[in-house]
Each structure stands twice: as C-alpha cells, then as structure tokens.
Symmetry: C2
Subunit: 447 residues, 2 copies
C-alpha cells in the first residue's frame, strides 16, 4: 500500500511505463537479438578525438563549462545550430529564436507545457513517436491520430480530422509530425504533401510541431526542405544532436517565433534552470572543429548497410501476408503481421526465440497497432540483424500455424513467460556498472 496514494496529481493517473521500457530488462540479455531499441551507433565516432576535445574544454575553460549558463542556452551553440538547420533549407533562423534543450524530448515537453491544457486535442500521425505520446499523456491531452501511408501523413486525412474536431468543438492545439524517416513508421513526407500540409495549416489556422531528429540521416538524396523553411510563423521546429552526434550529451533545440521562444525560456528555467554547460560547449566545439558533416556520412553509410540487411532478410524470409515500410533513411522499419496475428501477444514467444521488437500498440494513444511492430536496425551489426529477422520469421510462421489450427491465439502474457527468468546478473541489485550499452539497469528510455 502506498501511503501517499491519495495525494498524487491528476496527471499521474494516466502515466504508465512504455512498451519499450518494459521490454528492456529482458532484451538486454546477450543471447537476444534486439531490434527493439533506437540507440545510435555512437562507437562509429572518433572517440579519442572527441575525448581529448571535451577534456580540453574542461581544463581550459572550466570557468564556463563547469558553471551555470543561461536558460536559453549557449549563444555560440545557438549560432551553430542555425548553420545546421540551413542544411534543410531554414535560412532565416536567428540564434535568438533558438532554445537549447536537454534532448529534443525536453523541447517537446516544453512546447506541450506552453500550449496544452488538460483536455486539449493534439493531432499526431498514427503511429507516433512513443516519447511524444508520453509527453501528451502527462499533459492530459487527447491525441487524435491522423493516417499515414508510404508518403507520410495523408493531407486529406488531416483535413478530415480538423473538420471532425471543429464539429465536436475540440480545442486542437497543434499537429505533431515527424516528417523525415518517421519513428516508428520509417516513411518520409513527400515534397508535394509538405506543401499540402502547410496549405491546410494556413487554411485552418493550425500550429505545426515539426520534430526532426533524423532529417540529415537520409540514404538516397539530399535533405528535404523542412516545413519550417516554408513557414516561419506556424511551425515550431525541434532538432537534436542525438542521432547526428551523441544522445548521451542530451543536446537538442527548439526553433520558435520570438513570443513563443520567450515562454519556452521561462518554462525551461522552471524545469532545469539551464541546460548543462559542458555538453553544450562540447557540441559547439565539435561543430566548430570537427568534420561533422563527414561524420554524418559515416553514420548514414553504416545505417544504410543495416537497413539493407534488414530489408533483404525481410524480403527473403518473411511469410506471405507480412508487409513492411522501406525506409530511405533513419532507424526504423514498421512491419505489419499477416491477418489475425497480434504483435503484443506474440512478444513472449519472440523473446523466447531470442529476438525482440517493439509491439505496435505502444505507438498509438488509442489502442490500435496490435498487428504492427517496429524493427530498429540502427544498433545491431548486419549479421545480427539477419539472424534476428530469421528468428522473427520463424516465430511468425509458428504463429501462423497455431493460428490456422486454433484461430485467435493467446498463449500467455509477456509477464507469464518472464516469471521464471534465467539466472542473470541483471536481475540482482546492484547491477554491473558497465554493461553493453543496451543493457543499462532500470530500463532504457522510451525511444
């Protein structure tokens, strides 16, 4: 019994552990091939160079890098962030409109705090980034999903959703969208649709939150022009160095019109006072002195190889009736099981077969997505990926057999299967300090 049970805030009632976190204590076992987590391949960085760069920042500039900084973030970093955004066609951004955040996750939380009252409606792709759904839930917002296809968000579906919300009197605060290499859907909003979405935004007086951590991680073509490059009044842009440099530094940003920017700064001051100085200086120095664009090429080559391994194995091994997206950038494939199968129910059997994915329902606020799963190819090596897909294909086939024999299948919940875990150092406290990066105790964040 929790003696404080009667005094929590209303917003805590909907808070629940994400599908991803629940999974990690299990998938971190070394024998499991994890296609679950969205962790970047940071070891592809020149660690020695980055190490001495950061060491020198502390030795030589400790008075700044170890001290409090401004709530809005280091001015030098904000300048360099404008250079980064220029690669996606945002040419008019001023450093004064940028707020540095503790990862783009904090950016999303700040924007939501500034705009969303309990009961407000947020439009978001279906499926949507699970971390965003967590923020919206904590804000007690209602999420209305908008359908996507291979070209991203469907403008007609967006318009339809807006009309429905209007008719019902819902207060729609914004559209939350991930236009590039969507997490989890793996698709990218086409050029045409970008124009269409912005036209609808204009027509319906809609604010758009453009969440873009993967925009520079394309495999086939130059970065596409951001929504923010098309409209600087209706779009609030969220960026991150988590996928182009390092997520462990937790440096992201928001680009917003000045009036919004001012509110975001007040909100971040109340939340964290200021972002860490050291990590901000590290990113600024990295952008100033290292060949960061070439490093992004190194990353994308590596991810492209892993994407290829994934798509080739899927094509070779998946049973008929299974379909999946074909990402040309980013980290994720969105897979649809053959009719009648349920990714959530199948999960314990997949883990027993030593392969892990994230069930699709985690990416919907409304319980949809049971037939879907997200596969991440960013972290495992190509050979592991091939082995993982092989195991997954076998699990799906077995599932199909069961299904055709017994109809709908539920042979146990996830918890039931893991109730007799193999002896593992992870289940005792304290855990080993330095495990493999996908084995941190206490669960990974929900990316």
């Amino acid at each position: 019994m929790d003696p404080l049970a009667d005094r929590y805030a209303a917003r805590t009632h909907g808070m629940k552990s994400s599908e991803i976190r629940a999974l990690f204590s299990v998938v971190s076992r070394p024998e499991v091939v994890s296609l679950a987590g969205g962790m970047p391949a940071v070891t592809a960085l020149p660690l020695d160079v980055v190490g001495s760069m950061i060491g020198e920042l502390v030795s030589g500039m400790g008075a700044q890098t170890l001290q409090y900084g401004s709530g809005q973030g280091d001015p030098r970093l904000r300048e360099r962030i404008c250079d980064v955004m220029a690669l996606e066609g945002i040419l008019d951004a001023s450093p004064s409109e940028v707020v540095v955040t503790v990862g783009s996750q904090q950016g999303l939380d700040l924007v939501t705090r500034v705009f969303v009252d309990p009961g407000d409606t947020i439009l978001a792709e279906g499926p949507s980034y699970v971390g965003a759904l967590g923020v919206f839930q904590a804000a007690q917002a209602h999420v209305r999903h908008v359908e996507m296809d291979d070209d991203g968000l469907i403008p007609e579906a967006l318009e339809q959703a807006l009309l429905e919300c209007r008719a019902r009197g819902d207060r729609v605060k914004f559209l939350y969208t991930v236009p590039n290499y969507h997490n989890p859907a793996g698709v990218t909003l086409s050029e045409e649709r970008r124009e269409a979405v912005m036209a609808i935004a204009e027509q319906y007086d809609l604010l758009v939150i453009e969440d873009n951590p993967y925009g520079l991680l394309g495999f086939e073509h130059e970065p596409m022009r951001a929504l923010r490059a098309r409209n600087d009044e209706r779009v609030i842009y969220l960026g991150s160095f988590s996928k182009t440099f390092s997520p462990g530094l937790r440096v992201g940003w928001v680009l917003a019109p000045l009036a919004v920017r001012e509110k975001l700064v007040l909100a971040t001051e109340a939340q964290v006072l200021c972002p860490p100085s050291l990590t901000q200086y590290a990113v600024a120095r990295y952008l100033d002195t290292q060949p960061w664009q070439q490093q992004i090429k190194v990353f994308t080559e590596l991810y492209r190889e892993r994407r290829d391994a994934t798509l080739e194995s899927l094509a070779a091994l998946m049973p008929r009736g299974t379909t999946w997206s074909k990402p040309d950038g980013g980290f994720y494939v969105w897979l649809k099981l053959p009719e009648g199968l349920d990714a959530k129910l199948m999960q314990p059997r997949a883990v027993a077969a030593h392969v892990a994915y994230v069930p699709g329902i985690g990416f919907y606020a409304d319980g949809s997505g049971r037939e879907h799963m997200r596969l991440s190819y960013c972290y495992p090596e190509p050979d592991q990926i091939r082995e993982g897909v092989r195991r997954l294909a076998r699990v799906i086939e077995a599932e199909l057999d069961l299904h055709s024999t017994f109809g709908s299948v539920d042979t146990g919940t996830f918890r039931a299967v893991t109730s007799t875990p193999r002896p593992s150092s992870r289940s005792v406290y304290p855990p080993p300090v330095i495990g493999p990066a996908n084995g941190a105790e206490g669960g990974e964040p929900a990316i």
Copy 2:
C-alpha cells in the same frame, strides 16, 4: 502582436521573468560588483585533473558515456549518491530509491508535477528559493509562506498555517523547506526545530520536501542530520552536486519512497528521456577517484573567507537600522533595510553606484519582502565584496537622506535607468562567446 496569443496553456499566464534574470544584463558589466548571482566558485576545482578525467571517460567509455542511459540514472552514480547522503545521517537509502535529475531544479519540478494539481497549496518558508517559486507558479499552485527566524522555520508558525489551511479546506500537498544555509535567508533549522517540524508533519499527515544543496557547506560544525534521516516515509529529499562539485554538469537527485520513485521516473522519462550520460559518469568517476571531501573543505574555506568579508564590512559600514542574517554556511546573507526603504525601488540607484543585489520581493509569492535584499558572497573575491558593501552602504545612506527629506521615495523604475545603457558588447548580438562566467548573454538562471 503575438498571433498565437489566444492558444497558450493557462499555466503560462502566471509565468514571469524572475527578479534575478531581469538583473543580469545589467550586473554583468565589469564595473558592477555583483552580490546578486549564486554562482559557485568552480575555478577552485583542479580543472586539469577534472578535464583529463572527463576526457578519458569519453575516449575509454564512449559506448556508455555518449549513449542513452536509463531514465532513473546511472546505477553506479546512484550508489555513490547514497554514500554522500550518509554524511548527513541518511544511512538507509537504497540506490533504487534515488532518481538522478538535471540539477535538483529538475527534481523539484518532477516532485511538483507528481503531486500538485492547479489550485493546490504548498507551504514554503518566507522567503523561499526563487527557483522553487517558479516551479510552483508554473504548476498553478498557491504558496502559503511560513515565517522563519534565525533558527529557521518556526514550528508554531507551521502549525498555525496548517490549521488555517485546514479551516479553509485548502489541499496542502507538501511543505517545501531548505533546512541548511537557506537561500536566500542564510539561516539553518536548529536541531530542536527539526524534531518539532517532523513531529508536526506526523501529526498533520504532512509530506515534506527537503531541498538540500548546501548541507555540506557549513563553516563551523559537522553537517546536521537531515530531516530525511529522521523519517523515511514523509520526507522526499532533493540533493545536488551544483555547489559541492559543478553546476555546469547539472547533476542532482531525488531520494523518495519507492512508490513515489516510480512516478518520478515516469515523469522524467516524459520530460528528458534520461539525464545526460556523460555528466553522470563524470560525477561518479569524480566521487570514485578524486578527494571530493577535501575539495569541499577547499570550497568552504573560500566561502568562509568571503562570508567573513561580507559580515565584517556590513558591521563596519551599514547605517543604523539595517539588519542581516549571520550565515554559518552556504552562499547568502539576507539583509533588511532601515524602516521605510524599499530594496526594489532602490535597485536602479544601486546599479548606478555599481553594486547589485537581488530585491527581496523575488523570494515571496505574495509581494512581501520589499524591505529585504539578498547578498551573495559566493562568487566575488573578498576585496570586491568589501568594495560592493561600501557602495551599497553609501546608496542606503543616500536613500535614508532622501527619505527623511521627502518621505517615501520613488525616483524611477529600473527600466528607466537602464534605457540609455552604456555602449557594451553585451547589448549587441551576437555576444562574445567566452565572457566572464557571470556575463552569459540571455540572462543567468534564477539562482
């Protein structure tokens, strides 16, 4: 005109810039002696040693330090945090009850998010830490101040406040208290009163948030026993490495009963996914390999000297009728002006005389404190402090003269005086990248 003016969340309406931030663009001018900011003396750290330590963490353990970590924080760091708390008599804390946060500021925000609905009441000392008031305001909470004296919070005043709130039907969610070397009051809760406060908490079923960034920074005696050491069910403890190591790393923590801990982890995941890995590893490695307790001695010797310079100058120079607290640890002196003077109205004249402080009204949610100011001795050298106090004494004397001539005095607002600022590199954008640590553009955080 802000085209989005009609769609902000209700919580933004009360958000306003703190007294401290408003001040910084002015006080960062080099000719001004600033007794305003609460910035620790980080250059007293062995910067070379810390620099190579952090550099090696990245070079040698980049796969962990540059990667996402768990939302709750690095397990090794959480173990070491328990060792730190043992110095204040908290001997039963388990690492599983610790949540690492982005400074203790984030800890306070998370606790508030987990407990406070709009309209709830929070009891807090009068005056209170300005950053806490910002959090409570963003949560749309009502703050009821409880009186303090030289021995800290007055138990009878606490009981009185609880009775009044009960009578009015206010939902009191917790008492927020800074028992050691209070910011801004400079006083410490006596041993007797600690017992009395906890007895009242027991009797009235009151939750206590113990915010303790300064507990190890005493000048005269061993650390006092924490409230949390006396009661592990009713006290949520907030700690920070900002004052004992480095604020630029933004590493703090919350120690809470397991049921609360679980909610705090969900809340922090929604807010930042996880705290920065690099800064957590840096603190853990520092605690593991460096003589951190001796370093705290170095800091306290330095702060003691500055405190002495402050108290001696005040005693020598302040006009009759001025009174102040005599801190035996921490960073702050709380000063009361002679009858009839107003620290806020006097501020422009103090800045014109090249000395800065923080007006007392910033530390109250209810507009009190006009006759008070906070003086921080943590950052300036003793000679600067003496010069600053000398200037301040002259300003107060001039104010007294005016006052006895004309009665209540208002010779202009702060803004009026700064409307023709001296040409300064700080007023043009972009600002210089590396200024003195108390000159960051965009305002300092509200500490």
